[in-house]
């Protein structure tokens, strides 16, 4: 069996905290079925996605909540690494028949599986709400797939880099929760960046989670804008850079 498959399977079996995974799924579902309908009553005119397309808030938020799973999945990458460091498996695996690169790729692969599978589960659960508003086209599937893949890669790599820099699992949990909280609330997951006050708008336009969410919504609602291609290119480049940083940081982890 291929080394990456073996290590990825091991990461999924050994390091997944099912209680955390459960709550990672519950949060988006809560937004879709509670917050969306609740705030939908206040925002009766809906939310503009493009100058020509406005969707009900519940639908807008449901799409955003699916990408929320991507960022949650990303934190799993750092958690996997921290579990291995805390439990002595990091050194043990590095003395096994693998390279450091294979080990970090296996964590990324496990994270992609978690992030994409989680998003699909949330997507399927949200289908009754999303169902009426979405159209399935090859172009749309490409953007949805690319958003989930690039978003998970970027936030997973970011979490790995963070977990390498921070010196305890507790600090990692606190810092990653806070950082992802900032990413989340300055993105277009909950509100359109174009409608936000100037400072928040600027931050949101520079937030990779906004690009991920915009790509995902574009794929779902066929709302392709002129800036979408730029967002895809930038997200790909940034995901690649962050992944590179994670690999370099990981290779430099000092063994105690």
């Amino acid at each position: 069996m291929n080394t990456y498959v073996r290590l990825t399977y091991r990461n999924l079996r050994a390091n997944l905290d099912f209680a955390s995974l459960f709550f990672e799924l519950i949060f988006p579902i809560f937004f879709i079925f509670v917050e969306g309908p609740g705030l939908g009553g206040l925002l009766k005119s809906g939310v503009p996605i493009t100058p020509t397309l406005t969707v009900p808030y519940q639908l807008y938020l449901a799409a955003g909540a699916v990408t929320l799973t991507v960022i949650n999945g990303g934190t799993n990458a750092g958690t996997q690494l921290w579990y291995d460091r805390k439990n002595g498996m990091f050194e043990q695996l590095l003395m096994g028949p693998f390279s450091r690169a294979q080990y970090i790729f296996s964590i990324i692969l496990a994270t992609l599986i978690i992030g994409i599978a989680g998003s699909l589960i949330v997507f399927l659960i949200a289908l009754p709400i999303l169902g009426g508003g979405i159209q399935i086209t090859p172009e749309g599937v490409f953007f949805v797939g690319a958003a989930l893949f690039l978003g998970t890669l970027l936030f997973g790599s970011f979490a790995i880099a963070l977990s390498v820099v921070l010196r305890s699992s507790e600090t990692f949990q606190i810092v990653s929760t806070f950082t992802f909280f900032v990413f989340l609330f300055t993105s277009s997951v909950f509100y359109p960046a174009s409608q936000a006050p100037p400072i928040i708008k600027q931050v949101s336009y520079g937030n990779p989670l906004t690009w991920t969410t915009d790509m995902f919504r574009a794929g779902l609602f066929q709302s392709f804008t002129s800036t979408l291609t730029i967002e895809v290119i930038v997200l790909t480049i940034v995901a690649g850079i962050v992944f590179g940083i994670a690999v370099i940081a990981f290779r430099r982890i000092r063994v105690s």
Partner: protein, 326 residues
Amino acid sequence: MSTEIAISVANLEKRFSDKVAVDSVNFEVKRGEVFGFLGPNGAGKTTTIKMLTTLIPPSGGSASILDYDLRTQARRIREKIGVVQQQDSFDQGLKVEKCMDIYGLIWDMPANERRKRITELVERFGMDEFRKKQTIDLSAGQRRRLQVAREFMHDMDLLFLDEPTVGLDPIARRSVLNYFKEKVEKEGLTIFFTTHILEEAEYLCQRIAIINHGKIIEIDSPENLKRRFGRAKAVEFKLSEGMSAQLSTELERSDSITKIVQDQENGSYKISTLKPELVIPEVYRISDRLGLHISSIYVSETTLEDAFVSLVGNSNEEIVRQGAQS
């Protein structure tokens, strides 16, 4: 073609900033040999193991492991070795059997072989009662047994054991040591072994290297180390009358006695000496003169621990002396 040497180390060095953890060490380990690597805390044992297992790069020198170069063929080395680390190492989200199974899987062992080995190892390491438990719920001793057993889920030519019996009770410890011995005798496994329990080293190792302050100070068989460095034997005895201060004073004047220790709790005397054949008549003579009666007397053999303490003690004195001169 493989040579008869499993590990060959030449001037191997590891520096951390300005601290030299391993200072130009040289040694060879033959295939099928159990090689002990002993030293006090912080002597450089674990750092040496980490270098030899490719976990950290050496700062200088060279080494060949199973005929592969340490610097350029690290991956090939890792495919052929097993390592039981000093620190705990376990997958926290798994049950014991699954933990062993997945460990075998990542080493690419076939499923039927994994099943066979789990059954064998669970029995040999006495893990039946906790085989279905989550690893996170195991006691320290149970977790250590799992860690050692798990390493035998894959094939290897060379096994590094860094204090593998820490936390094990005496019965489990003996059982684990016997398993190692069996693997060496039946399958020709080579073992590089560190421990602080010197009886273990004596039981298992054909040769022992003693390292202190990063330098190897001696390499020899346990018997030779005891003979060469375990200089003093001990004469132990008890009096029917209990302890006697006068007897101690008189004995201390004797030329053949190096040191006398009184164990108040046990009511016994222990005399360190190079010549027990001279000390025993002396003890009887002085006791008779003082009207005391010896209830028991025997000569205790020198141990590896005596040799170890003597060697490390001399080495420390030498370092202090060199420091004072410079």
